[in-house]
């Protein structure tokens, strides 16, 4: 299923003076085959780095806690993000609310390496996402299907992830979203330009990006799994479905032995095709995060439906 991402793809239509899409999409490529872990303080960031995380996501509350505590979830305190940036040498990402371009300006000014315009936080705009091209800092955005992914890339996202259902420890939604993207991409096969224009209209996505996706037979930027990954097997499942790497949010620091589980998930993402390694790293990990069964979750509590 996994198709190669050509070395220059996505750049020619997006690259321009001053926005330098090659550099933005390039960092995402450097993260491939890696695990990006949610951390809430410097101590957790160091544990993640020591476990082999390719990057960390700095945030005040992991999604599981946002669910429990409720209220409006916003960008984290910049001071806390800076402390994490000082504690580790790997890239540090941070989340901004959907459409909240001022939070993005603030995150850019403190020098984070990637911004996640994230449905896990409470959306700040009912209709608009952030115009991401003018920023120097690259963006990652969530998607449930191809149309959503290409709309975000059209706005300037240099990296995509599945939305999944964050903070549940239930991988079913991440799988649903990845399978939907794969199915949508497969559906473009063999279509001529006229047919692709119709599909672009149906998907609500820019024609140029739809055409590029049809040529590449995959998303034109790096695509990670996110939302509900809790075990090494979950991570390898998403990799075998064609993801380029994995975000793990609540799954690590809400488990019994975070350091061990983090190491295991890192090994699982590298050796995702080798069941022997997967068996080995899955042994004796202690308790996984308790988890919420998404099927039994009321619609109003779902985060993945946020975003337009």
């Amino acid at each position: 299923m996994a198709t190669e991402l050509p070395t220059t793809n996505g750049h020619e239509t997006q690259d321009g003076e001053g926005n330098n899409f090659a550099v933005k999409a390039g960092l995402a490529r450097m993260l491939k085959g890696g695990v990006i872990m949610d951390v809430v303080n410097a101590e957790q960031a160091k544990i993640a780095e020591e476990a082999g995380a390719a990057a960390v996501m700095a945030l005040e509350r992991v999604p599981a806690d946002i669910r429990v505590q409720g209220g409006v979830a916003r960008m984290s305190d910049p001071r806390m993000i800076k402390e994490i940036m000082e504690a580790v040498t790997i890239p540090v990402m941070a989340k901004a609310r959907i459409g909240h371009f001022v939070e993005c300006q603030i995150l850019e000014s403190i020098g984070v390496d990637y911004i996640d315009e994230s449905e896990v936080l409470t959306p700040a705009d009912h209709a608009h996402h952030v115009e991401k091209h003018p920023f120097r800092v690259p963006f990652v955005c969530g998607c449930r299907n191809l149309g959503e992914a290409l709309r975000r890339i059209g706005e300037g996202a240099a990296m995509i992830r599945t939305k999944g259902e964050a903070g549940t420890g239930d991988v079913v939604e991440a799988v649903r979203h990845m399978r939907q993207v794969n199915e949508d991409v497969a559906g473009l096969a063999g279509l001529d330009d006229a047919a692709l224009r119709v599909r672009a209209k149906e998907l609500g996505a820019p024609f140029e990006l739809v055409k590029r996706t049809a040529e590449l037979k995959r998303l034109p930027v790096v695509n990670f799994a996110a939302g509900g990954v809790a075990t090494p097997a979950d991570a390898a499942l998403m990799m075998q479905l064609g993801c380029d790497g994995v975000f793990v949010g609540s799954g690590i620091f809400k488990s019994g032995d975070p350091a061990k589980r983090a190491r295991a998930i890192v090994q699982a993402v590298t050796h995702y095709k080798d069941p022997k390694v997967l068996a080995e790293v899955s042994m004796g990990l202690g308790e996984a995060m308790v988890g919420i069964n998404v099927e039994k979750m009321p619609e109003a509590q779902r985060l993945a439906v946020r975003g337009w």
Partner: protein, 298 residues
């Protein structure tokens, strides 16, 4: 009619990072090489070489490494790669590949860090290095992602090879500068003296600097390659422009002339990412170097 064919296997370390990009460019490079150098190879006196085949593969295990004649260490996160290598039983085999057998190796960005004998600005508690290049690198030299940039490089070493005549010129000279991408890139801060037996002791005594462990080369050919001089192959041009707000040039930042490509015998390192362009010229050049080194070792 068929002469016995010869296969050279080039691996790309696939623990994490941009390994698939290297594999794609190696395939492109082999094709360019096949088209542009076949007459030469046929005329070189060894009849077997007309049927040279390249095989390219991802390396995640010691068994996959063992069949490689040469290796690329790609860009990615060097801390992640070092940790995963150690946990996958690959760190010692990699050190043997580079320092004991001294097979041809190329590291880009994170790969350059792993190949250096000394590195600073590593994570707290340091990280494992493979070593093989007598240099000190500084990680994340230019800063964070917002300080990442692209630059057009003049790379004189490309002009002497088949790489120089492709894809845009037939004149034997590089037709255009090499557009290269620097992402949270390291630079070579210092060229170190070679220690024939032992680690970089002076480096080990510096604060916040880590060194690679020592390994003895297995034979005279390996010893020669290990103790070759470190050559500077490229420096940062004055006009390179960063992504910072006002788009400062390398000259304005005082970074003009920073060392960004080195070679020591058959080990090559670049702080930038030739794998993020569609331009296979450096890969073509490097495969020629590999071929040369393999012949010398025989």
């Amino acid at each position: 009619m068929t002469s016995p064919s010869r296969t050279l296997t080039v691996g790309v370390l696939a623990l994490q990072g941009a390994f698939s990009e290297h594999v794609q460019l190696l395939r492109q490079a082999a094709q360019i090489l096949g088209e542009s150098t076949k007459p030469d190879i046929n005329g070189s006196g060894n009849g077997n070489e007309g049927a040279l085949n390249w095989r390219f593969g991802e390396v995640r295990t010691p068994a996959e490494l063992a069949v490689c004649d040469a290796l690329i260490l790609p860009g990615g996160e060097s801390t992640t790669m070092a940790l995963v290598a150690a946990r996958s039983g690959l760190l010692e085999p990699l050190r043997e590949f580079v320092k004991v057998y001294r097979k041809p190796v190329w590291g880009t960005c994170a790969g350059l860090i792993l190949l250096s004998e000394s590195a600073n600005r590593t994570k707290k508690g340091g990280q494992d290095l493979i070593g093989g290049l007598d240099v000190r690198v500084e990680r994340n030299h230019f800063g964070r992602q917002c300080e990442s940039f692209t630059a057009d490089l003049d790379l004189p070493f490309l002009s002497a090879t088949a790489a120089g005549v492709t894809p845009t010129s037939n004149s034997g000279k590089p037709a255009k500068p090499f557009r290269s991408v620097f992402i949270r890139a390291p630079i070579v801060e210092k060229i170190l003296p070679h220690h024939t037996d032992g680690i970089q002791k002076e480096e080990a005594e510096r604060d916040d600097t880590i060194v690679a462990p020592s390994k003895l080369p297995r034979d005279e050919t390996a010893r020669k390659a290990v103790s070759a001089n470190v050559e500077v192959l490229a420096r940062l041009p004055a006009g390179a422009v960063t992504l910072t707000p006002k788009g400062k040039t390398a000259r304005e930042m005082g970074e003009e002339g920073a060392i960004i490509a080195v070679r020591q015998g058959n080990v090559f390192g670049t702080s930038f990412h030739p794998e993020l362009t569609g331009d296979a010229r450096i890969h073509v050049w490097w495969l020629e170097q590999v071929l040369d080194a393999v012949r010398k070792a025989e």
